[in-house]
Symmetry: D2
């Protein structure tokens, strides 16, 4: 019998992507989709790509009824709202993979500073597994609640964590210059994500002030031991999907080959990490759960390049990978 | 002294394009910009491209004050609202170039059927010059109010009118298959014009039911003598701007050369019509006021191809061209 | 044991797409990839997306050696060259799915007129199964050689064939206005497919003179009984992939509902045909093997809309679907 | 009488853009266009946008005949070839604005290292005015030969030069992370600039090894006094045009306001520099000669953002601006 997954907040891009991946999964199935605003509509009315593929109607979330029909919830609600719902779902024993930022940070104070809301379930903050199986497999295995990582942090933490753990780079001088496709900004109509605003345009936003900066620093800190101070600049890039992070670091006497060896060793058993000699592009990973990593020497710095699909390894693919880990399945099920 | 132009509803794409063109105009200047929703903001706050180029604040429209500072209004309001405002502006003797559809059709009944509102100024319907100087120069010259044409109709009427007038094609069997850039859908945030919806996507909409279909038929009828029945299918195309219309007609014993001769003769004195041998692309006319026309024989049909920039010849360029005509200036001022 | 597939001419977009689909196939595997120009390179050097997914080197085609390692060849060579190779492969009993046009038409004379080359294997012309399983299942089953359909023809034949067979539309008045993503033009560097030429541009090409027009007429004729005269206009559209065909037909007394019923009946057992109420977009079918079909009434015409992914249902997905048919597997293997 | 400009190597994107700008120029006209490969074709055959706008045929360059008909040459040839031609043109007293890199660097040895060719006219290296009128007006005025700056260097030097001159930032720790539209890669068909390769893709290239890195360092050095060591990473971005440079620097005790004041003071009389409070996007400057500059504080760094149109301020607009300077005209002629 298949594991039953319900998607909460099913009208956005990450929700669609999660459904699409789960439709290919041999041991999981989607059994409920919720939405407050589009209640009653068939899922294919909001995602026409799902015509003939998934025959479910959007329903308002009622936790008890939902938990009867779902073993696991993929919770795609905005921060704040998400933690509230996660709490209710956990009380009726539904496992949860939370796409929001609500349980990613270690400290309540930092969460409340950056997200500007009171945390609805502060006692759990710092106790939840961060859903990067390549780095936190032990905590994810057997977890009932997982904080699915942010898209930008995934692209930065994956290359940086092993290097900091090995002491190969300086923790105090790291610049992450990231370029993201527009889907990262969500599906709610806004001026800035209109076609004619985003097309033929690239620009940074929230320079040194994006909420994913503290997430990067928080997670990275667990590997560096010492305090880290990543400077993070995201850029809105005219493409549907993909994140390309160009990362500038100072080596502690290592060269590019040594970096590749550290990665090889750290990710020996990680099927989704590809350490490549060519320079990665978002196109190489589009539609996949891969993280492509490369490194170049430039003057007295190393330049690390990481590419992911923001909707897959940066969101829904990671969620399915976490699902696989929770149930002890092969990490790649539904993802190749 | 320069002619003073005010832009009513100045936050959209056509308004921006009009401002940009007028900034290059030797005899005109922009002296007021209005917006209800963004009142008080500098125009460069909503159109950052205008930084250092135009130092005006958005103001709510007060007709008397506006008319003191503007000789001509470019009215970029939605249909219905526009006619109401046009009426007030005419009462204080401000000339108006109306970007809406409110005065384009000949009959009130048809307007009210297609636009679903009562016309605020029915006695003027059918009396207003249709702003295609290539075809209606006599009516535009000395006009105080001009109905600026729809973007799609411009791309269809320009090639078809001379052919129908010459009896070269059958009026009862015309298909206009048009492809438009996303800017044609306006700047108000909507799901369908989000980058991630419109990008990598082409689709028709309002098949045989778009409001520009009766506009085409109405104007074309003035040339064909007999009733016309254009079938019009617009398509949303993943690009900022441009309209490419592929038009299928039945010749009355003429070939492609004869069509080109009819065009050459009709547009001998029209600086913005280019009859080309190659196949036009929207890219060839982007940023210009040109209409590129070509024709090919295919079986027992002729295939006519017309390309314009929907924001320029399809909207703001036409408005400036009309302004030039009203004031007796060379048609090309500000437009080359 | 898996069926072994070799890809001949493996450096282009359709070849990549075929490999990607076969990697997901439960009963097939890719065992050889050939290329004259890139001989010796790992496949991942020309398709970086395949890094870690397929560990094969590009080899020059030697038929005997190839046939020892491959049960089936996907032949992605250009027309003319393809038939020559197909002949050799058949002589050593390798099954072939031919992506070229060499065996699609019924008559040698027509082939030679449109393709401008002498046919290398004329006695087989007209004897080869046309690879649309939805329409030619009987001929495909047990075939050793299949002519994989052209991308544009697939988008036109799928909606038109059942309607012509049912006598629901007139065969002499059909216009197919198609819009294709740039990948349809192949991966060989040419001016017209450079990013800066194709981006922000839409234009028709080969109006009434494209080689897919006789292919459409040839196949359609088998259903209409009478002679057909499709007028076909392809357009290069600024997107990677997808074909949207807008088809104008004259009904023989049927309405849109009747059309949908004819399709429903004809494609009752076809898992990849979706008859939809909304208007299809290329985005709805991108990355899938679906054909989305819709119809609208417009005046005295019907407007049919068909959307496919040109690289999948229009090429490599069709090839895999044909493979499934040849081996008697479920049509959807590897394709959902 | 107008100044007569000839375009050498007129088939590329920068040449087209130069022609388009000169067509609007009140005191200049294009009197010759050369091309070896397309000799004899009308210019509109290679740039269809110029239909009816410029009636010249492409000719092979014959220096004597060219110089009789042209007062100034815009030389758009590749490096190496360009210096050779520049030498001949100067010998017949034709003024030259050289779009290539041949006369940008100060030292022959560095040129030969980075460009891999022997310099054809080494005695002039280091003697030629670098064509940024905002910084080198004195050298440009009355010059007969100008080295038109590289596109990336313009985006980096403009913000950095005044800051280094003022000692406001550290010269030894500067990272320039640039994102360029595809037109920067030229119009010669290559795999990497095909639509289907560049679309939906962002990737860095030539990390720390691009030829514009020594150009930046060379020019910047003239302002910093001390040696500079810029680390430069260009990225190919899916858009036609525009460069966005995100620049990471270490302040010497200055804050963002101080940076803006230094820029204001340095560029007080520079009509094309806009120091903005919002974050610049390439879209804000597309089609213009503007450089938009902004700065933000982030931790202990300053993040500078510069946006230009790579084909205009990054190439052809700069050339026209230099032309204006040479002839003592207002810098903005033809450029607003």
């Amino acid at each position: 019998m298949k594991v039953r997954v319900g998607i909460i907040g099913a009208t956005g891009y990450t929700a669609y992507e999660a459904i699409r991946l789960l439709l290919r999964h041999p041991h999981a199935e989607v059994t409920a989709v919720t939405s407050r605003q589009d209640e009653g509509l068939p899922i294919a009315a909001v995602h026409p790509q799902l015509t003939r593929l998934l025959d479910l109607k959007l329903e308002p979330l009622e936790v008890d009824s939902f938990a009867e029909r779902c073993d696991v919830a993929f919770c795609c609600l905005p921060h704040g709202a998400s933690a509230e719902t996660v709490k209710q779902l956990r009380e009726v024993n539904c496992k949860v993979i939370d796409f929001s930022a609500d349980f990613r940070l270690s400290r309540v104070a930092e969460y409340e500073t950056w997200y500007g809301v009171q945390h609805p379930w502060p006692e759990l903050v710092g106790q939840v597994a961060y859903g990067l199986p390549e780095l936190f497999a032990d905590q994810i295995k057997d977890a009932d609640l997982i904080a699915n990582p942010g898209c930008y942090p995934t692209s930065a933490i994956m290359p940086l964590a092993p290097l900091l753990k090995a002491g190969a780079i300086q923790s105090g001088d790291i610049i992450v210059d990231s370029k993201s496709g527009v889907s990262g900004a969500g599906r709610t109509p806004k001026l800035g994500t209109l076609y004619c605003e985003a097309n033929e345009s690239i620009a940074p936003y929230a320079i040194g002030a994006h909420r994913h900066q503290p997430e990067m620093n928080d997670i990275i800190h667990r590997f560096s031991g010492s305090s880290t101070d990543i400077l993070f600049t995201p850029h809105l890039t005219p493409m549907d999907r993909g994140i390309l992070s160009t990362i500038y670091v100072r080596p502690n006497g290592v060269d590019a080959d040594a970096v590749r060896e550290i990665w090889q060793s750290a990710y020996r058993d990680s099927p989704f990490v590809r350490i490549v000699d060519h320079i990665p592009s978002t196109k190489h990973v589009a539609g996949t759960n891969f993280v492509d990593l490369a490194v170049r020497t430039a003057g007295n710095r190393l330049v690390v390049v990481a590419a992911i699909d923001n909707l897959i390894k940066g969101a829904s693919g990671a969620a399915v990978q976490n699902l696989n880990c929770i149930y002890g399945w092969d990490q790649t099920l539904g993802l190749l």
